[in-house]
Symmetry: C3
Subunit: 660 residues, 3 copies
């Protein structure tokens, strides 16, 4: 991880006359931009006709930017193959779940499993890397753009169908093993050969969840394989340049960890207001009342931090923000103007969470096509927009502050992509969502002012953490089970549940025992019960005090552990001893807070209840405070600090304070 902080920009010179480029380069450098990200969607300009390349303009762009000492991030343009390619590969289009080809006319229309497009992807990457791989101005490479955006991971195309059969054959070796693993005997679903297996869409009633889960794993692998082919070429022809991908947030359809392992840096695209809109419109359980309107112009105060922490883990510590929102967007159902100051706030938050570079989307608002209402740092008339002013301020502040890194977090939260697919394969309760449950834990921790390290569901060194939280992993590998048990023995504290480790890797329940794996073997889950989030069940502690509510998912438990909280029917909800704790329900915010308080006592974790909309992150140079709310917050009155840099103790809306 680099301690130095840099600014970057998404720049699309092909949208503007060449005459602008020189002034643009000067303006970018003057603003304090280090990295310029180009060529992301430029395939039709690079190769206007099959096999005919137009390099002049791109050479010129590179030269112009380099002349101002700007460093270039070169993107492979494969997220938007040109129209002419459909003449060569008419079947390269992804097919949607309803069996409709996804037509040309926007972007990401290709199927990851199409061999012809795979070849085109390798071809254009090789040609680009061959030409620019060793160019001194090219500082880094980005592969494709925003894999999985617009729900493009899974394709129900003939190509995907064939590749899936092959993938299954390789995984299972013989068809009997597959039938066994899937339990195909139910409903006479047994297969005689891999050629008989279809994609799990359009079935009469729900498809076999094991079938779905394997299709999700396959689909995830296809993305990783697609990417690895580009990475392989870049390693050869652009050696020494870091390779990055810009992950698209709130997209859990492929395993970002697995793909990031091929990269040097995990990048992501950060659009706080768009996330907030989508998240709130989809569902607000676990979100305090009023969040929808209160954070309409700021974004959810936990959602950005969650993704920073997620991608810092994915990148093994190396995190960049590849696209940062800089004004109102165009693609969300509602597109409000950000509260003044938010672009700067989001940027500080990114840096404090370990981002080495924050790169803005985009330099100048484009006046045409789909993105014409998407703000840039500059207006279409080239005058500075609100984002410009905030970035200019930030650039100065960054220089003054110097390098820093995130502090070590006391709590580790296990986040797993496969569990998202597994639980979606059979929600069992309409309102259950793995990723929303994980976020509910994350939010509860941050509301207590506690930093979080997101970790993978793998065996690893847990000793840096005082507490490890494991919500709803559908299966627990033997290694992780042993590792957690050892961690607990060496005084680590573990909090698990609900819906934890009830299945094996084949998505089957155990036939021999309902006991959970170590270190939760004191808990036996007899059966589970789901209900609408509007229904809930009061929960009380041993002193009969109300501690909040359970909802959405509740387990009937038989346990040898001391029960700490019970529900109305005297069913155990929260139980544990000897550093191992288990929650047998989806806890509402009040209950989750109460549970964390109990566990924090054991784990000796300090907490401060953050007032509404205030968040903080600890770093090597002090603690950053961000005011996401619409009201001024006085850090001094709250006894949070006596002095602060940046916006000071009296923190206005969108204000940022650094407490040393």
């Amino acid at each position: 991880m680099s301690e130095n902080k840099h600014l970057g920009i998404s720049y699309y010179p092909e949208h503007w006359p060449q005459e602008c480029w020189k002034q643009d380069a000067k303006d970018l450098a003057d603003l304090g931009i280090t990295y310029v990200r180009i060529a992301e969607y430029a395939w039709s300009r690079i190769e206007p006709e099959p096999g005919e390349f137009a390099w002049e303009w791109l050479d010129k762009v590179i030269e112009t930017l380099a002349s101002k000492a700007l460093k270039i991030i070169m993107c492979t343009p494969t997220a938007a193959p040109p129209r002419w390619m459909l003449n060569k590969h008419p079947d390269m289009l992804a097919v949607d779940e309803a069996n409709q080809p996804r037509k040309f006319g926007s972007r990401r229309h290709y199927c990851f499993s199409h061999e012809g497009y795979r070849w085109e992807s390798r071809r254009i990457t090789e040609i680009l890397a061959d030409r620019y791989g060793n160019h001194p101005a090219i500082a880094a490479w980005q592969t494709d753009s925003a894999y999985g955006g617009h729900e493009t991971v899974r394709s129900w195309s003939p190509s995907a169908h064939k590749a899936f059969q092959l993938w299954l054959a390789q995984k299972y070796g013989n068809i009997k093993a597959l039938n066994q693993a899937w339990g195909s005997v139910l409903w006479s679903m047994e297969y005689n050969s891999f050629e008989q297996i279809e994609l799990p869409n359009l079935t009469v009633t729900q498809a076999n969840p094991a079938h779905c889960l394997d299709f999700d794993r396959f689909s995830s692998d296809q993305v990783a394989e697609f990417n690895s082919e580009q990475v392989g070429i870049l390693r050869q022809l652009a050696a020494g340049r870091p390779v990055i991908h810009n992950f698209t947030a709130d997209t859990f359809a492929f395993d970002h960890y697995k793909l990031a392992d091929q990269l040097d840096i995990a990048g992501w695209d950060c659009y706080p207001i768009s996330f907030h809109t989508h998240y709130q419109m989809e569902s607000s359980f676990g979100t305090p009342e009023g969040y929808w309107e209160d954070y309409f112009q700021q974004g959810d105060p936990d959602y950005q931090a969650f993704h920073h922490d997620l991608y810092r883990q994915a990148g093994h510590g190396r995190l960049w923000v590849m696209q940062m929102q800089s004004g109102p967007m165009n693609l969300a159902p509602y597109n409000p103007v950000p509260l003044p100051g938010m672009v700067r706030l989001w940027s500080w938050e990114a840096f404090a969470h370990g981002a080495e570079t924050t790169s803005y989307f985009r330099w100048r608002q484009v006046p045409f096509a789909q993105e014409q209402m998407h703000a840039g740092l500059k207006q279409t008339d080239n005058k500075p927009a609100q984002g410009y002013v905030e970035v200019a301020q930030l650039a100065l502040e960054l220089e003054q502050l110097g390098p820093f890194t995130p502090a070590e977090a006391p709590v580790a939260l296990v986040v797993d992509y496969e569990s998202q697919w597994a639980h979606e394969a059979q929600r069992y309760g309409k309102d259950f969502s793995y990723i929303r449950l994980v976020l509910a834990y994350y939010r509860a921790l941050r509301q207590k002012g506690v930093d979080v390290e997101i970790i993978r569901p793998l065996s690893q060194d847990l000793s840096p953490y005082k507490l490890v939280i494991v919500p709803a992993l559908y299966a627990l590998s033997e290694e992780l089970s042993e590792n957690l048990a050892a961690y607990v023995e060496f005084n680590g504290v573990v909090l698990g549940g609900p819906r934890l480790a009830q299945k094996d890797a084949n998505y089957q329940l155990s036939q021999s025992s309902l006991k959970l794996p170590k270190p939760f073997e004191g808990v036996e889950v007899l059966r589970s019960s789901t209900s609408p989030k509007e229904f809930s069940c009061a929960v009380r502690d041993l002193a009969d005090h109300n501690r909040g509510k359970a909802y959405i998912w509740q387990e009937e438990i038989s346990t040898s552990l001391p029960v700490l909280f019970e529900d109305e029917n005297n069913q155990p909800v929260f139980m544990g001893e000897n550093n191992t704790f288990y929650v047998a329900a989806w806890a509402d915010p009040t209950l989750m807070s109460a549970i964390l308080d109990e566990v924090f006592k054991i784990a000796k974790i300090d907490k401060v209840e953050m007032p509404s909309g205030l968040r903080r992150s600890k770093t090597s140079i002090g603690t950053f405070y961000y005011n996401y709310s619409k009201n001024t917050v006085n850090l001094k009155a709250l006894r949070l600090a006596d002095a602060a840099d940046l916006d000071g103790l009296e923190l206005p809306p969108a204000g940022v304070a650094l407490v040393r």
Copy 2:
């Protein structure tokens, strides 16, 4: 009808190692199970490759069960044809209304009209019946499983298209007759030949309701024909064994009466909590406030009884429950654990309504595939689940109580499948649902503690009843009209409406008179009016007392009958004399109660308003009371009884009392 009561089980030996079978058989016998239902989805195990049969395991299963004197219900496995069959008949898949083939990967994927699959169905039935038809351990046969489940009655496939044209040609003889019957002249929809007729999906605006209704009749007939082919074979090769089908409840897309006429016993699958969830999530009109949450773990207190009464009629008195819910399910949007005791309550209610056998789903929870979260009497680890305990108690109680049958009901309620299709063919008001209206009547009757006989819309002996209710029959045959008129003359009381007999059998309005048929000829329906269920119109009696509200459907009436209740605009809502009464609106629960009270006075029917969640059924050995509520109900305090067997006068939640 047999007065003896038996217990049964759904058993899937093919899901478990052979080593378990012997112990399972012993455990089943020890629990008091009489009937074991097997082979329902076992085609891929019986015929793993086309034409290659594996009998050994099934022979062994039968032998093992028989060794414990268990009686076997053998199912034809046609609800889930194996994957290899698609190689022989790629076009056997049903096609959905949006023109998409319904893919393999779950169950019920076949089209009823596909000749090739018809042949396969006859073939496997013949082979099975040939082998086991006279086996002494096989006590009964079940055809297929749950016809119509997952909306599989109607198929828009090429096979269905061709068969529909043939069906129409047979019905109408010549195309002119069809054009006349359908009124095709509207919008130039006239046909020159049967070959021109298409299935009524994907039309620009609504298709001709007569076209839809004929397609619904055809689709219903296809199911009946499919079933009759299996029955024909079983009659020959398994003579002397009763033939049963397990109807799936809340599925009105085919005529269950017509199909049941081919059978010896009408069976059905009873999942109270799943029905309640679907019913409440779809619509709650006619349901008192709070039902959704109040009965979340018990099921709607009227829905099971309604289906028992419906299938008792379908089976001409012979009723079995083929699958009884025994714990939480997996397929509903929410899957709560049943309130402790409910499995026993549901079972008692089934027996009291005439069920000869109640068979549970399933013996042991399966750990894989779609149904892995669906409870059995045993957990996956073979320990008893909650359902087991309740069934064990029930088995003992049944033995103590001895045989009994339902008492004769004072009220007959006409329920008609065609009327459901007819009214769906043109709802006219978005909130109008025939079957929901029927259920509203049924509920109102049961809330007054009155038993109901569901009867068919056919001429029959009505003399056993004090009151016959006829809601919303779209057409009244001349026979039924005459029969009702005669019944009224001999002092029977009839209550009809709303939306009664406004059409003829061709779904046409009369051109000569708006008067309803006998005995309702005093009522002329000038026009109808629909509104959202949220809007309603106050209704008053002659003394100007508020008697409730009309909503959803209201008719403008000209009548020669005395008007008893009027709405705000002085329009007649409830009218009648000389034992004939008519309701010109969908009555809300208050109004419906008031109307029944008036009619009960004339018909001399005793009633007792049941407290919330309490229901009762009269039998040959006394009256059963069921407490569906979450509160204890004191029968004595309510003056309902002075002594009671089973759970006694102080009836806890899920309690059952027998008052002699």
Copy 3:
């Protein structure tokens, strides 16, 4: 415009036996009907087999009607081509956006771009016109019926695809020009030839809005071209007879102005209760609380007037109502009976807004097929229905009152079809709807008792108006811009915004300036912000009085004009001077009323706040008042009049008063 007022009827003799016709003709004449509209859906009776014509019945009908001096409107029957035509042209079916052909079985199933069907349309028009063009009884011709009904303007068929490519080639000349105009360079969407261009459905994420807008323009042009072919034939063969089309209201998918320019009279189909139902069920922003239920049996008090004014403009002053609702309908989600008197009220309102003829749908309720529950003036048993009684009264009153015309309106409201498509191409905010915003302005004006002239977005003489309102035109042509500027200079008052003229005709933003065109050049729109209609922002005037709320759409403005109202963040909301005013937000009803009050002061427009449900229209013989509410309104008590004809000063529900 004719000052004389006539009544008409939709008559379908082919639905009834010939024996009825003579009596029908007599009854129609007796009722006071002048025009009889026939043959609209009679193609299958005119040409029962391809090329075989059955004229006898139609000759007879014409003769029978003519014998009673009834004037005939002959319709071309092309809205419902017969089934046999599909054998000749299997691909003539329109294709829906999900790529499904829209099947035969209702009406309007043809694709406007299909050459074969175009030929059939010309053929049948020619044959009909050739036979009846000079018949003395035929007074007028109607082309087709209700273009665009059931969302049939746009078709995604192969025919449409090919025709669209041709249309684009003609528009742009070369593919570079198209790429430039559309900004295809974004996301590498550039085309190498017109053959590569696809229809803009089923894209991965939103298609290019310029692509969508051109497809909408193309689709609109196809309808106009289809119609012009029929009109051309009628001009030749039925010279001297006016040609009419019956536009279907609330259908903005094609340019009604452009098509109406081919006609002599603009007709439309007026179904007040159906509109109200659809409108309220879709969205109620801009509608006062309670409208849904309060006007359930009357229709929205502004919706009919809006369409009368719209089609009076389309017809250059010549307006007919071709189908007037005469009782409950069958096609809406709810179908209430109209409040007694409403048929007469709607008719008077139509006449007062300039209708020359009001023609009722239909003579007698048809007892079969889709429309069997749709009321006529007569019941199926031929007795008079409620509508008959009201029309009979009206006929007498009309005779007494004599001829009249609408008064000149003080306010002109610009309404543009292209703007509807343009804003739908990228709503930017989910709740933004151009046509709903236009209607909000219209409603606010009518609520102040002010008459409105709807005008086109074209250069024209504005001098008759005191005020011109221009809401949300996506682009302002240079001509209109200059015209408005000149109008302002000559003391006209202009009110514009929001979302006004932000794009050019290619749907691109300006790169050189954010200033709006003249006369709004004092306003610069920096950026726009959207939010759910539930969120809103208080607006205050300079004296800090609350003046209402802004919502849905808000602009950040830099302006040289005096700011009159500001929002909570001191952003300008309403600004202006020198007769030019701009609103930078969607104003809620309170704010819109406040803004109009300010502008009325400048424009010297008199207003009277109408009480709930009362509306009025000025004519050459006095002012008509309509009581849409369910309560009696006393005009005298409201100081609106001292004497009134028709229903008098004490106006009952559904009452109409004429104040001289």
